[in-house]
């Protein structure tokens, strides 16, 4: 005998009540969401005073001490919110899209590989911080003073020391070594079309080999390609899935000169020496300078300028090296001890922001065509 599903129970407190509950819950959810949304709306129309809150857009690698931000907030009676906005390229794209109605007051994370584009789009207003005096000339980013330098770093080849010891192979010494047959299938790099360090590494090769002459950067990449270089789309998958120190089997990876120091630091005391080392030959490591700029449309310009000064001052500059693994631009800032494992290259590879702005897209296109074949 089959009783038909539920029809037998035709009570008043039936499923309609369930519908009623659902509608109530939906309404509550929508209202709560809107309530949360309105909480964060920073529209100050009622008061004449300028808002005392700052919103900073940054790329995902940004990191700083909680107390460092809190001190600024206390000192200036302000609130600071940092919005993570993707990698450097995504962050800049978002700032350009929101140009007419910015979602933030400042943008941190523009480097020399993107500076030209940012200046072309005129998203920043000028500000020359007095702290600029403490930044050596070679680490100043923008002579037009739209972007103030905060930190710098070097994209460089890292190699896995134990792997080379075990195999009895000499580690590479400069970019050119990688084309040597004994380093076949050993290297992993990132795609310059999708990754910041990948792009910086492409620039390093352009700076090192040039566009004219017997051996151009295109020749170099053709040789690398023949030597079976592995190309991943981002730093994370290169480092954690392809590099032999972690899940992969390739002992040479494009990373940063600070990565060996970070390995010691994040080993939680297990290591006293880095498991990896840098390739520091002349013109092998690309200098990346990162900066902060005040966005056109800033609500409280004076407060934003105070924040820029604060970021370039020692308190902030001495805090971020072990959080972001970059070197402070302010020469007075003292580096933490672990940075003894993060030596600065004698002759880094460099390209001017203007050269980069002019050729960036063409180089990426040429690289893509070259590696496709």
């Amino acid at each position: 005998m089959v009783t038909d599903h539920g029809m037998a129970r035709f009570s008043r407190r039936g499923p309609e009540r369930w519908l009623f509950r659902t509608v109530v819950v939906m309404l509550v959810a929508v209202l709560t969401t809107l309530g949360m949304a309105c909480d964060n709306l920073s529209v100050d129309i009622t008061t004449e005073d300028l808002p005392r809150d700052l919103i900073i857009m940054s790329h995902d690698s940004f990191n700083i001490g909680e107390d460092v931000i809190a001190e600024f907030e206390q000192e200036h009676d302000a609130t600071v919110t940092i919005l993570k906005s993707g990698d450097a390229g995504e962050t800049l794209t978002k700032a350009i899209l929101a140009k007419d109605a910015p979602t933030a007051d400042l943008l941190y994370g523009i480097d020399n590989t993107f500076l030209g584009r940012a200046l072309d789009e005129e998203i920043f207003i000028e500000y020359e911080s007095p702290m600029l005096d403490n930044v050596p000339d070679e680490y100043r980013l923008d002579s037009s003073n739209h972007v103030m330098p905060v930190d710098y770093g070097f994209v460089a080849l890292n190699y896995h020391i134990a792997w080379f010891d075990e195999q009895g192979v000499a580690p590479p010494t400069d970019l050119r070594s990688l084309t040597d047959p004994q380093y076949r299938v050993l290297t992993v790099v990132q795609n310059p079309a999708t990754s910041s360090p990948g792009l910086a590494f492409l620039f390093a090769t352009v700076a090192a080999f040039g566009e004219d002459g017997d051996y151009t950067w295109q020749d170099y990449w053709t040789d690398l390609h023949e030597n079976e270089v592995l190309v991943t789309d981002g730093w994370t998958d290169a480092y954690y899935t392809a590099f032999s120190l972690y899940e992969g089997d390739r002992p040479i990876v494009v990373s940063y000169t600070t990565s060996p120091a970070a390995e010691v630091f994040f080993s939680e005391g297990a290591l006293t020496e880095p498991p990896t080392a840098n390739v520091l030959g002349d013109n092998s490591a690309f200098l990346q300078i990162e900066g902060i700029g005040i966005l056109d449309g800033v609500r409280n310009e004076e407060l934003a300028q105070q924040f820029v000064d604060y970021v370039m001052d020692r308190r902030f500059q001495e805090d971020f090296p072990t959080l972001m693994w970059v070197y402070p631009a302010n020469e007075d800032a003292e580096l933490p001890g672990v940075f003894e494992f993060a030596p600065i290259p004698d002759v880094p590879a460099e390209l001017s922001p203007e050269t980069i702005a002019e050729n960036r897209e063409r180089w990426i296109d040429e690289w893509t065509a070259l590696m496709r074949s």
């Binding site: 993707g86 990698d87 995504e90």
Partner: protein, 557 residues
């Protein structure tokens, strides 16, 4: 007037979903396209001409389509035996297993990559076994950055869609038809291919459509596991938009992708509405299988093999999270519990769980009624607008998430009313991806309901609403629960929300995992793995609990 609530109900089931689509989909897409197409000042048509005349981009279009088609076929082939077993067998731990196989669906691609590589990577389990047992000098399996690993990952991701959609439908199917065929002398294989499969077609087609859309716009998996030559259209759009600063070409590609998707969806909805057979739906408990035919054994073996394949990445991750440089330990778990370095962006696992769950619950609460409502609007088989409307509802799954995410930056502000940096874009994005799942699951069951049940209710004096609530909903409850599982999963996995602005206080579990993996060092990998385990446990528990939530008296269906 007796008519007015009826009319209200008729209007609402079309107007509400369309309003939502306008706000969350059409307007942002229109804003970003208008902004982008005029970028180079050459007029609106020139980007399309540029894109179409670029042989590289044409090649990407072809690659994108066929990798999606291949992934869909493979996922169906892997999932079908399991769908059968979950539909026809009652066994201990069935609910838990069903929750477990849905976990891979929500894993961030980098975590999936780490899971797959600890099995198939150069120092993974498979290679260790092969080198150890067979004496290979070098690891014989090399999968990183190959086409094969993309397909494997797609199958592992989309398997849950096949199993859940098809088994839900299958379980409610009255076996009397098959029994009759068997009695008339049909062999079990003959019954399967000529009776069962045609009846299952609506559910198979629904699963295929969802999987095709997901893999057609595949982004993270391609970036993490593929090589540059595996770039899909979505990856090209991303690169053109955020790296090469050619938004006009990107917008042209996104529109081409959208139009192609719409065409395929229209073909699909036509096929699906033609495939509908009204069948007698039975309560699930009434249809267990006692099959002992060879087909049954093959199905069981196939199910066990595919469950093992799908569960191995999460299990590998789980085990991996307890392995430290010096043996077993809880390093990662200890690290995520405290903010030792006093970081501004630190988030405790508790807060990350709370945020993820809050977004997921709101997504379920919005997407499920929206999807059910939309499905009701699509029920009338004679309306000319039904097929285009159905295709339109599915379109968000086939649109470029990169383009849409950036579109929110332009569209979610009207004068002083600016919600771009609030929770609104996150909720909109999650709901937008979640509700098509609800529509697909609900619609395939709804169309199979024989209309005379509802007619009987009308004759007995029930209003359309009462008929919907008391006749349809009990039958649909199972499908609605499955829809809820996917809405919940879509939100937990943060599909398509990658390009929004993230306030630190909204940090979810997937975002926290990615934060750990932006810097080098053993403890960061350990922390990411520990957080991934937390994510998997929370997701699995959520799936399990949602399916146990049943209204009294509805549970059998």
């Amino acid at each position: 007037m007796k008519d007015s609530p009826v009319n209200l109900w008729r209007t609402a089931r079309i107007a509400l979903p369309l309003t939502f689509l306008l706000i969350a989909f059409a307007w942002p897409l229109f804003s970003i396209t208008r902004f982008s197409l005029g970028w180079d000042g050459q007029g609106i048509l020139s980007p399309f001409i540029d894109a179409a005349s670029d042989s590289y981009l044409r090649g990407r279009f072809i690659f994108t389509t066929w990798q999606a088609a291949l992934s869909t076929i493979l996922a169906l082939a892997f999932g079908l035996p399991s769908a059968y077993v979950f539909a026809r067998y009652r066994f201990r731990g069935r609910g838990l297993l069903l929750a477990a196989i849905t976990i891979p669906f929500i894993l961030p691609p980098i975590v999936m990559a780490l899971g797959l590589l600890s099995l198939l990577g150069p120092s993974g389990l498979a290679n260790d076994a092969l080198t150890g047992l067979l004496g290979f000098d070098n690891p014989p399996i090399r999968l990183l950055n190959t086409f094969a690993i993309i397909l494997i990952a797609h199958v592992v991701y989309e398997y849950a869609i096949v199993v859940r959609l098809i088994s839900t439908f299958w379980a409610n199917m009255d076996p009397a038809v098959q029994e009759a065929a068997a009695m008339l002398g049909a062999s079990p294989r003959h019954v399967f291919f000529n009776v069962t499969l045609p009846l299952l077609l609506p559910a198979v087609a629904a699963a295929a459509a969802l999987i095709f859309l997901f893999t057609f716009t595949s982004f993270g998996i391609i970036l993490i596991l593929g090589a540059p030559q595996h770039a899909t259209l979505e990856v090209e759009i991303y690169t053109l938009m955020t790296k090469l600063f050619r938004p006009h070409i990107a917008a042209a590609l996104a529109l081409a992708q959208l139009i192609a998707t719409f065409g395929m969806l229209w073909a699909y909805v036509k096929l699906q509405s033609a495939a509908v057979t009204r069948i007698r739906l039975r309560a699930q408990g009434a249809t267990p299988s006692t099959g002992r035919s060879p087909t049954d054994y093959i199905m069981r073996l196939g199910a066990i093999a595919s469950v093992l394949l799908v569960l191995s990445p999460p299990v590998a991750l789980l085990l991996r999270s307890f392995i430290t440089p010096d043996g077993l330990g809880l390093d990662g778990y200890t690290a995520i519990m405290s903010n030792d370095r006093n970081e501004y962006f630190y988030i405790s696992p508790i807060a990350a769980i709370r945020n993820s769950l809050a977004f997921a619950v709101v997504t379920v609460i919005l997407a499920v009624p929206l999807g059910v409502l939309a499905a009701y609007g699509l029920r009338n088989p004679r309306a000319w607008w039904r097929n285009p409307l159905d295709a339109l509802y599915m379109l968000p799954l086939g649109v470029s998430a990169v383009t849409l995410g950036l579109g929110y930056l332009l569209s979610l502000r009207i004068g002083e009313f600016d919600v771009r940096t609030t929770v609104v874009p996150i909720i909109l994005a999650h709901t937008l991806i979640a509700y098509p799942f609800v529509i697909r699951v609900v619609l395939s069951t709804m169309r199979a309901i024989r209309p005379h049940l509802r007619e009987a209710a009308h004759v007995l004096g029930a209003s359309p609403l009462a008929a919907a609530m008391r006749v349809d909903l009990p039958i649909l409850s199972r499908a609605i629960l499955v829809g809820s599982v996917f809405a919940f999963a879509v939100s937990l996995g943060e599909f398509g929300a990658t390009l929004l602005l993230n306030r630190p206080e909204y940090t979810t579990m997937p975002v926290a995992i990615l934060n750990y993996l932006t810097r080098p060092g053993a403890i960061n990998l350990a922390s990411a793995l520990a957080m991934s385990t937390v994510l998997m446990v929370v997701a699995g528990a959520g799936f399990f609990l949602i399916e146990r939530a049943r209204y009294r008296g509805w549970g059998e269906f």
